[in-house]
Assembly symmetry: C2
Homo-oligomer: 243 residues x 2
DNA sequence: AACATTCAATAACATAGGTTTTTGCAATAA
DNA sequence: TTATTGCAAAAACCTATGTTATTGAATGTT
């Protein structure tokens, strides 16, 4: 849990000057701890704040009328939760924690402040929103036109790739604290089929999972298999740091 | 084709003053006509401009390695094409016209101008991006957790709802110029199954289609059936018009 | 007219993934 | 130790949707 995870995250998109850093840091005041399995907010609640994720994993989801559920976002440290609700009075999804986590609440109204004080930070937030769209887009492709094995491999690679933006680790293994029923709800599959799919990936030697621990013996092979190209996560327009 | 479609569209989100209108109108200089079936830009191209849609329908898509295709956005008059590529140097998807259409190109660099000149317009563009996210989110739910009939009904209702924001018409019928293979690629289905699904909806009396013309005898019944709630399209935060 | 092309409907058959159920294995509680 | 609970694996069976083909209607082309 480094001092400012959001700084590290935002800083990976643009050169930040002290004035920007101060403004960003002020969005991480008074962190709040939440336990695993705890619901942070509910679909339909009044949405008056965003959250930055300091540590831990969270996810957003929608409960369907037929008792089914769709998982929509997975949040890791450095992410901002709820940006899209800037345009809405009520929450579009519920959000819950997957692990113990720390989040910092900051009110929507602070966005106006950002828009009026800094062109760079305005651009930066706009760019973050654009990247969120790119992630959703890729998930749409995943759900629409890939097989269960590809879906699972692709989502795993997406998460690994996003973690690599701010962390470095052994490249071919990492912890992914998503139980199979959450993966199922994220990929539009049944839990049983997620299990089958893991054993299939294991039998193919593409990917191994043991108790949330993922191992990928040959990343390139898995990427080819899943049709994963990371440019939608890692390529970005350099933003100018004046003002 | 009214004089400024984008004004009408943006104006439905916030009270615009003359200075904002001037700025927005300047994004609709020199419209360019494109024919149906024409490709406007290709995935991987350098992305240096957005487009506003003056008239006609377009769609964005991704061609997959296995010859398959995923349709990602459907654009109608008033929409902005390519906003999400603000954060990328290359296009994430290809875009093509469904009907004869008119679009206006404006360079990405104009966004900086907007960010530095008007807090209201900054907020507005941010809000448009947020709404685009909400649409993608709902599509994710659609692909992940709904049956083929619900998917088709839901997408139809989404489009009707979006058109109603700036147009008014007979409420239960409209023109939806999407051939079945485009619907299939948007919903992750086969063309054959889209056809089956239309006849099923017809047999249930929920929805009729003849040559791109859609009729919905009982909107409420169809919305209930599809699990469609329009708040993600029509509810919005009022934006302040100072500056 | 004759022909080609596109789009949609239909049928017959194949399969990926869903459902239900049983089992095993940890981790925690009693 | 013995229950209890929560995941995950596996098996058997079911169904929604995919695939391949055929046909017809509408439209465009020569």
């Amino acid at each position: 849990m480094s001092k400012s995870c959001i700084l590290k995250h935002f800083g990976s998109y643009a050169e930040l000057e002290p004035c920007h850093e101060d403004l960003l840091c002020s969005l991480e005041k008074s962190p709040r701890k939440i336990n695993a399995e705890t619901v942070l907010c509910h679909e339909g609640d009044i949405a008056e704040a965003f959250y930055t994720v300091l540590s831990g994993w969270l996810f957003s989801y929608r409960n369907m009328e037929d008792g089914t559920r769709q998982v929509l976002d997975i949040f890791v440290p450095g992410d901002v939760i709820g940006l899209r609700e800037f345009a809405f009075t009520h929450r579009l999804t519920s959000v819950a924690a997957l692990t113990e986590a720390e989040v910092c609440e900051f009110p929507k109204s602070r966005m106006a402040e950002i828009f009026s004080n800094s062109v760079l930070l305005s651009s930066l937030f706009f760019a973050i929103g654009a990247r969120e769209q790119a992630v959703l887009l890729e998930r749409l492709v995943n759900l629409g036109r890939r097989s269960a094995t590809q879906k699972l491999a692709h989502l795993t690679l997406e998460l690994l790739s996003r973690l690599e933006r701010t962390n470095t680790f052994s490249q071919n293994e990492f912890r992914m604290p998503l139980p199979q029923h959450v993966l199922a709800d994220a990929l539009g599959l049944s839990t049983v089929h997620v299990s089958r799919t893991f054993t299939e990936l294991k039998e193919e030697g593409l990917m191994f999972r043991d108790n949330n621990h993922i191992q990928i013996p040959n990343i390139k092979r898995l990427k080819d298999f899943a049709g994963f190209s990371p440019y939608y996560l890692n390529e970005s327009v350099p933003l100018d740091s004046r003002n």
